[in-house]
């Protein structure tokens, strides 16, 4: 079945078997290997992508279901080559060790901060509760999210005109 998906702002088409999972389509058909397949059983959240802005586990959705919709993967975070504040936060606060869970963690953060720019630590921990870090580096992941939230708030204050048009 031929599907058309807007991946990180670019329209892509692929001819896929219906039984292929969205994670397969992203990695194999679109060549975007930043989306990791961890447990493959809907438990770990490593394969998380944004579907129309909402986090979903791409190992638990068929690729054909994404037909006509927008998918954001970790590769879509660094617009124009500049790191997203979320990526910068993970770098500054040492929010990753092995890095396997990081794409999922960052995409969940993206959705969290879009709806709640100033989350409490509790809200951050709830938001990432579907994502498992096997290095158990949760302390620094929480700090990284807080860094990103602070940084994004500061840029909004510094450039109110730019923020309102972005």
């Amino acid at each position: 079945m031929e599907i058309t998906v807007t991946v990180n702002g670019v329209e892509r088409t692929a001819d896929v078997e219906p039984r292929l999972l969205l994670a397969h389509v992203i990695r194999d058909s679109f060549g975007l290997t930043g989306t990791h397949v961890g447990c493959d059983t809907t438990s770990c959240g490593a394969c998380t992508v944004l579907l129309d802005g909402v986090p979903v586990k791409s190992c638990t959705m068929f690729g054909v279901q994404a037909d006509g919709r927008e998918v954001t993967t970790v590769e879509g975070l660094a617009a124009g080559g500049a790191l997203d504040p979320i990526q910068d936060g993970f770098k500054q606060e040492h929010g990753l060790q092995c890095g396997f869970c990081t794409p999922g963690m960052m995409l969940v953060t993206k959705a969290l901060l879009a709806g709640n720019p100033d989350p409490t630590e509790d809200e951050i921990r709830w938001a990432i509760s579907g994502n498992v870090c096997r290095c158990t580096g949760y302390m620094n992941i929480v700090k990284a999210v807080q860094w990103a939230a602070r940084n994004m708030a500061e840029s909004r204050t510094a450039e109110p005109a730019a923020a309102s048009t972005s």
Partner: protein, 290 residues
């Protein structure tokens, strides 16, 4: 893991979906949130030849209360319920259960209706709906029928849904004034299935208990309505002793298995503790004792 091959169909109207299900019979399966069905297909526990994706059918995502009934459409996601102010103010047992179902990412796709049709005895919504006295609407090209939750849930992974039917709506009677409820769930960690969970809904009438709904999760072959405990409370004085006796009866109604999450005795004990605790909370919410 790859599921077995299937034909994928994505109808844009309910009638079209129902016609496809009528055509395919036992070989067809409805895909909504997919958060239970897709894992089962990946493990090859399920291998439908035809998958009917209802996600693009308009009008199935309604969540509203009218004429004393809360209607939850087939495509209402768990995340929507979790954020609903209506549920927080009027349906505390649902508001308590929603954030404890799986994890936030799964809740973005998983649906209430899908969870009910899946009928996992460790699923939470079955107990919530039993406690609330809810029913489901099953539609097919032959017509429509409304089935009370107790008749709908037949056994493990088994409901009274026919292969050509879609659960289009869950109907929950709006709680009368002086009602309260809660859902208590013991889980090993966030996102796990319940070790034990108990849903409680209580309505007070003139100082005594009007209606009591008590249902149990993960302690039998399906979600269990603790009918004896409910019957005992109906018309009773809302005392600590009455709640303790109802909790004892609820534990008696449970039929847990020993497994990795705990022994049968332990789970039966948790049913008793949670029922007693839940009733006290519901009583307080209903305005009792104040």
């Amino acid at each position: 893991m790859l599921p077995a091959s299937f034909q994928y169909q994505r109808p844009s109207t309910l009638d079209e979906a129902l016609a496809l299900l009528a055509e395919h019979g036992e070989d067809g399966k409805v895909l909504a949130g997919g958060q239970s069905l897709i894992p089962l297909m990946k493990l090859r526990f399920a291998a439908p030849e035809h998958l009917v994706d209802i996600n693009r059918i308009p009008g199935l995502d309604g969540l509203s209360e009218e004429d004393g009934v809360l209607r939850i459409g087939a495509l209402v996601r768990n995340a929507t319920l979790e954020r609903s102010d209506l549920l927080k103010s009027r349906y505390p047992v649902m508001a308590a259960a929603a954030p404890m179902i799986s994890d936030p990412i799964v809740r973005n796709l998983g649906t209430v209706a899908g969870s009910l049709v899946h009928a996992d005895p460790a699923g939470d919504w079955g107990s919530v709906m039993l406690a609330l006295g809810a029913s489901v609407v099953l539609r097919s090209s032959r017509g429509e029928r409304e089935v009370p939750m107790g008749e709908f849930l037949v056994d493990t992974f088994t409901t009274s849904t026919e292969p050509d039917e879609i659960l289009t709506e869950v109907r929950v009677p709006a709680p009368a004034p002086g009602s309260g409820g809660t859902y208590l769930k013991l889980e090993r960690k966030v996102g796990d299935f319940a070790t034990v969970a108990v849903g409680v809904q209580l309505t007070l009438a003139n100082g005594t208990i009007g209606r009591a709904g008590i249902a149990l999760t993960a302690v039998g072959s399906k979600n269990i309505e603790a009918e004896e405990a409910e019957g005992y409370l109906s018309g009773a004085e809302p005392t600590e002793e009455a709640f303790a006796e109802a909790a004892r009866l609820a534990a008696q109604a449970s039929d847990p298995q020993s497994d990795v999450r705990g022994s049968a005795d332990y789970k039966r004990h948790v049913v008793e503790v949670f029922t007693k605790r839940g009733l006290a909370t519901a009583y307080e919410m209903a305005g009792g004792g104040s």
